[in-house]
Amino acid sequence: MSDAVIGALIFLVKFFLLFAIISVFVLYATWYERKVIGHMQQRIGPKRVGWHGLLQPVADMIKAFFKEDSIPRDADKLFFWSAPVIGTVFAMMAALAIPFGPPLVLFGRHITLDVVHLPSGILYMLAMLSLVSFGVIFAGLSTKSKYPIIGAQREVAQVISYELILATALLNPVIMAGSLDLTKIVDAQSHLWFIFYQPVAFVCFLISMFAVSARVPFDLPEAENELVAGFMTEFTGMKFSLFYFAQYVVIFTVSMLAVIFFFGGWLGPSFLPPVAWLFIKWAFFIFLYTWSWGTFPRYRYDQLMNISWLILLPIVIINILWTGFAIQFGLPYLH
């Protein structure tokens, strides 16, 4: 077989492996969240379908397939159909560039553990994450219904405000590693994780991470107590599920980003394989999402914007200057 065919095969294997990992994650994240939050609230969560409710997500998925798919009469059909697909596709696209471990050498071939290896991986991922919100915008505007429009309007403003913070906060590790390549960023942390150098950037990243994935306390686009279901109000069945799918994929991706940029990625003591370390650290962030869901009330819209523009933005910009300064003068906290 020629080299190109093998390369294509490897790509396909990695692609479907990633697809499988994320699908299983999304399915079981719902189960896990319901279970954890149930125990936080002194309930037991799903218990009926399968052992401790383990088959519940499968049942939910089957239900989504067989649920009536109703389209409002006044809706713009093309955008109404494409909205959930666009959101999910771009969320998955962002996940393509996540490296799950150091490059492998297998049968004399150099295999990277990300589906596509890009020299400027982080820029690509941020771009794809921004595009996810197009699904939401289409969803909100195509239905011509009032609650979805308000939801979409909130999503746009929230996402653009917080992606700015997200991108700026991630620049600090980039400055320190001197590369946009995710693998090189992890390698740069081999002596000490960036969280210890960049606690401020990490906190800003953490806050904007919750906002970008629209979860409590920043779940305003779909704030169910105000906007019923926000931009998803008119969607049913599979389309509705796809929005959740997209949201969980974004959670997956930004949690991975947090681990890669601040917690040393797959680095860890060698008694566990690197991939295991990556997923252990990542699980902590997934838990953080559930924990905050069970604890916090929701911010109001204007407060959310004020946090972004009046507090976080000056902090991250000054932080960039400080990092640049410290790097030039080799201040003691940098090697």
Partner: protein, 391 residues
């Protein structure tokens, strides 16, 4: 050049997750800001006031359960106190004390549901389930006493239906012992929470004058700094014998009303504690009163008692010809019954002053200039129940 713009009109309710039943508010939105709002009520109207004209006084007691279905005990008490005032009788001391215990428990239960839904509306999901856990203990107590879990039908004209069951006092004491801890837990989850503060402070302000002018009552009025509590002003069922404070808050915002209700739960616990410590002995319903059916045993053994029971159930009691307004302090506010009696066993006219209805009417004042998200905070802080508002 001028561009004509129109505000967006949006329906909130009657089918909306956080309009607490079937309230419909027509919001006029300018962006996300509220330019005007108009609450619409009446989706749960069942014509209780008219129904009352066609039934005997004692037959209306179960209907009062369906007013504010989160505090049925308080409604029962409110109604029977009104009829007792009409008849000029008073329940025996033990019955009064039991009614006080029940209605204060009902107040705690009602406030717990308020806190649960209010917090859920603002997004704090866990508080909801914590509150229902404590409410469950109260409902169990009610079930032991009255046999039902939501509509108790427990109070009677001249007393209460049954004496307290065995073990009630111990279970109640157990609840009273753990309750302050739980209350602290809610305080820890919300009171100092930054997000909670920013969502509730300075939102939905109702000034003292506005609160009085709109005729609001209960925690809404006290949250605006007016110290007014029917239990203190016109005591009934021996409330004058209990030592408790009336919490007020001067701010008049959502947070003020939140603090008032939280403190009221503590005060209710205090009242119950005093009531069970000094629970008098004796009958739980008036004996040998012309308005009260005799006990089952007497009906079965004495001819006169049987006749009296028959007359009371078929023809009703002979009431004085009078008009009367009697109000009690419900968890939601001043629940009043205006009774016009023509001397027969059925009220000629019965008008219910529903606190929820009047508190809702103050809502447009509170909402103006706030954001959409504040609507639900204000709705939560008004704590209305539609069974009562629409009657």
């Amino acid at each position: 050049m001028s561009v004509e713009t129109r505000e967006m009109l949006i329906n909130m309710g009657p089918q909306h997750p956080s309009t607490h039943g079937v309230l419909r508010i027509i919001l006029k939105l300018d962006g996300e800001r509220i330019a005007g709002s108009e609450p619409e009520v009446g989706y749960l109207h069942r014509g209780f006031e008219k129904l009352a004209e066609n039934m005997l006084y004692q037959q209306f007691i179960p209907y009062t359960d369906r007013l504010d279905y989160l505090a049925s005990m308080n409604n029962n008490q409110s109604y029977v106190v009104a009829v007792e005032r009409l008849l000029g009788i008073k329940a025996p001391p033990r019955a009064q004390a039991i009614r006080v215990i029940m209605s204060e428990l009902g107040r705690i239960a009602s406030h717990l549901v308020w806190l649960a839904t209010h917090a859920l509306d603002i997004g704090a999901m866990t508080v909801f389930l914590y509150c229902f856990r404590e409410r469950e203990a109260i409902i169990d107590l009610f079930e032991a006493a009255a046999g039902n879990r939501l509509n108790y039908n427990y109070a009677r004209i001249g007393g209460v239906a049954f004496d307290l069951p065995k073990g009630f006092k111990e279970n109640l004491q157990k609840f009273l012992d753990i309750f302050p801890e739980k209350l602290d837990e809610y305080h820890r989850l919300l009171t100092k929470n930054r997000i909670w503060l920013s969502r509730t402070k300075g939102i939905g302000i109702l000034t003292k004058e506005q609160a009085i002018n709109w005729g609001t009552s209960g925690p809404v009025l006290r949250g605006s700094g007016v110290e007014w509590d029917i239990r203190k002003a016109f005591p009934y069922d021996g409330y004058e014998n209990y030592d408790f404070d009336v919490p007020t808050n001067q701010t008049g915002d959502v947070y003020g009303r939140y603090l008032v209700r939280m403190e009221e739960m503590r005060q209710s616990r205090r009242i119950i504690q005093q009531a069970i410590e000094h629970l008098p002995d004796g009958p739980v319903i008036l004996q040998d009163s012309p308005y009260v059916s005799p006990s089952k045993e007497k009906i079965m053994t004495e001819n006169f008692s049987l006749m009296k029971h028959m007359v009371l159930t078929i023809k009703g009691m002979r009431t004085p010809v009078a008009t009367l307004y009697s109000a009690t302090e419900n968890p939601k506010g001043e629940l009043g019954f205006y009774i016009v009696s023509d001397g027969s066993g059925k009220p000629y006219k019965l008008k219910i002053r529903a606190p929820s209805f009047i508190n809702i009417s103050a809502m447009p004042t509170m909402l103006k200039g706030n954001y959409v998200a504040d609507v639900i905070a204000v709705i939560g802080s008004l704590d209305f129940v539609f069974g009562e508002c629409d009657r």
